[in-house]
Symmetry: C2
Subunit: 346 residues, 2 copies
DNA sequence: TTCCCTATAGCAAACGTTTCCAGTTAAGAG
DNA sequence: CTCTTAACTGGAAACGTTTGCTATAGGGAA
């Protein structure tokens, strides 16, 4: 058995090529290619013979060579802001399923909330010549954003981001309506001191949530109290430190909204430190029904959006872009789901 | 601006190639390649000039062409049994970080607990000519396993799987020792009716856990009661239905072990149905410290293994394989971490 | 001065496909 | 029977790189 093993005992990547299939079937390279790729100009007999030989030899086409020649990689890049957020796992998963159903693979890269990493990720995906990029950007005003979203490039789908002046599709969640519903609910229950912790204003979700929050107060002829807003970071550390401050405010907040996974982590820790129980001493609402909540914390009121639908929609939009259709924006609804944690506090 | 936009308004993938860089810098193709790839046979002046021109034109090398020519894709495939399990998100993430630090990208594919999917996934990754595959197999005795783990192929790292007769590396967790510790703890506390729900015997973790479980009983001169074992599935449905049965046994179990994410979900639901609280009416231990537990359920006793270390180790092993080193097995320790949930029940 | 060697640069083949174009055959029309 | 056409098949170029080989120039040793 010559050439079977290298000196390290590793099998050699001595894969069978289209050339060997052609030789064994005694036909031209081009005929093998056409027979296997479903090209119409092939006789039934030819197709049958080629397929038999290909199976026999265990031929598996080289996608790298196919990509180089055809200019298409059947690969989508997925740039995620912070893979720590379990929501993204869910989102990426449903997106990958939809892509796979259409014959695409996904390369997932994590920016770790860092703009430089994000820029490198875009560059990497371009070098890999992915057919499309789905991205959850760290911020909407990074200095690299023009370069990465304009210029010569593949179709792009943004997740929950609004960037002006670029030709990209987007999936946006309508956070405003769900938050409006939630805050209205609290106000009707008698809450006035409602605290809100979430990420900074340079991303769409914060703006949309804030819009719903503000409108609920306006609708009730009340004024938002700026010192109850902690708008600055999605990470748990930010939430923890600001929740501590908020809880010691006078008068203390009677309700608190956690905008995202990090906020939920930080706030719940701060509550524990202060011996406050959600739904008793303080009303609590999580913005986003995080996947782990259903396991143990099924009493937490949330503003729900269908994360898996967002992933699927992103896949659909990117496939549309690859087909040459114009970019478009798709909006996913959100709704308030009342559970025990939003009671109490008064 | 000719050629800037297609009729659909999409930017054309009119990327700059090495050829254009060569033309503009007035040097040969090969010189550009060598200058940019760090080849030694290049004068400082040449390198400088080429780099300037490349930057100026915004040249980004085509990784597809590089891969075809060099036979190396700098891509690792990650086949995951069930992406629903949040543990895999953590594992994949730490693995991806380590790979990226070494210049590799990761393609993640999900088998959804289905052997056919798994087989297709392996085939896809081979076609993509990945440099290595890290895999969490659905089962150790699938009919495709020989084909996928032997034959002409790239290096392979198995996650928590033991397959005889194949030349693959593996990262194994020593579940046995942690489970032994946990069960011994329960026995010492006076428990005799200890139930155990986990996946089927055709994967290593079950066997290792069972080994620890059995040995703890043997060490205490006690007999394992087979009807307290539900060894058959990692999914929540299996766990729920079997936990229901177990809880109605006579005598009822005083303690219960949940082997994995699905078991945890199913059992905790069954407990709730029966109005049983962990740490009070029944002692409870989760095998695997699942990532979401620390958010809200920080009172759950667990058998802990460092998931991120497993991911990193898998990356290290696959890189070793690519370097041509012999496959080897790496073992990760586990330990029992006592918290409130493992009290009570007696 | 001559010779050789080193450092550097260029040419061209190759990686494994797809696809354009041209050629062949057979069938159907006139 | 000849011509046209349709249906297929084969040859070869091309995709964008890397890399082995060859060529040249310049410097140092003899």
């Amino acid at each position: 058995m010559p050439n079977e093993k290298s000196e390290h005992g590793r099998s050699v990547n001595q894969r069978v090529t289209i050339r060997e299939v052609a030789a064994k079937a005694d036909v031209a390279l081009s005929s093998v290619s056409r027979a296997l790729s479903g090209h119409p100009d092939v006789s039934d007999e030819m197709r049958k013979r080629v397929k038999e030989v290909a199976d026999e030899l265990g031929y598996e086409p080289n996608l790298v060579a196919q990509s180089l020649r055809s200019g298409v990689t059947r690969t989508i890049g997925f740039v995620v802001r912070d893979i720590n957020n379990p929501m993204f796992a869910l989102l990426a998963r449903s997106c990958e399923q939809e892509l796979r159903r259409n014959g695409y693979s996904m390369i997932l890269v994590n920016s770790d909330r860092n703009i430089e990493n994000e820029n490198r990720n875009f560059s990497l995906l371009r070098r890999r010549r992915v057919d499309g990029i789905i991205a959850s950007l760290v911020s909407e005003d990074s200095p690299y954003i023009k370069k990465n979203l304009s210029g010569p490039r593949c179709p792009i789908v943004l997740l929950d981001r609004e960037v002006k002046g670029v030709n990209a599709s987007a999936v946006l969640a309508d956070h405003a309506s769900g938050v409006h519903e939630a805050v209205t609910h609290l106000i009707k229950a008698g809450h006035r001191e409602i605290a809100f912790v979430t990420g900074s204003n340079n991303v769409y979700p914060t703006r949309s949530r804030l819009e719903g929050f503000t409108k609920a107060f306006e609708d009730a002829n009340l004024k938002v109290q700026p010192d109850l807003l902690a708008i600055g970071g999605f990470d748990a550390d930010y939430a923890l430190s600001h929740a501590r401050i908020l809880l010691h405010r006078n008068p203390a907040p009677t309700a608190i909204l956690a905008g995202g996974h990090g906020a939920l982590m930080g706030i719940s820790r701060a509550l524990k430190e202060n011996n406050l129980t959600m739904g008793k001493e303080i009303a609590f609402i999580a913005l986003d029904q995080l996947p782990y909540l259903e396991v143990f914390s099924d009493n937490i009121s949330t503003v729900y959006r269908d994360t898996e639908a967002i992933g699927r929609e992103a896949a659909i939009l990117i496939l549309e872009g690859i087909e040459g259709e114009k970019p478009r924006v798709s909006v996913i609804e959100s709704e308030f789901i009342e559970r025990a944690s939003s009671q109490g506090g008064l």
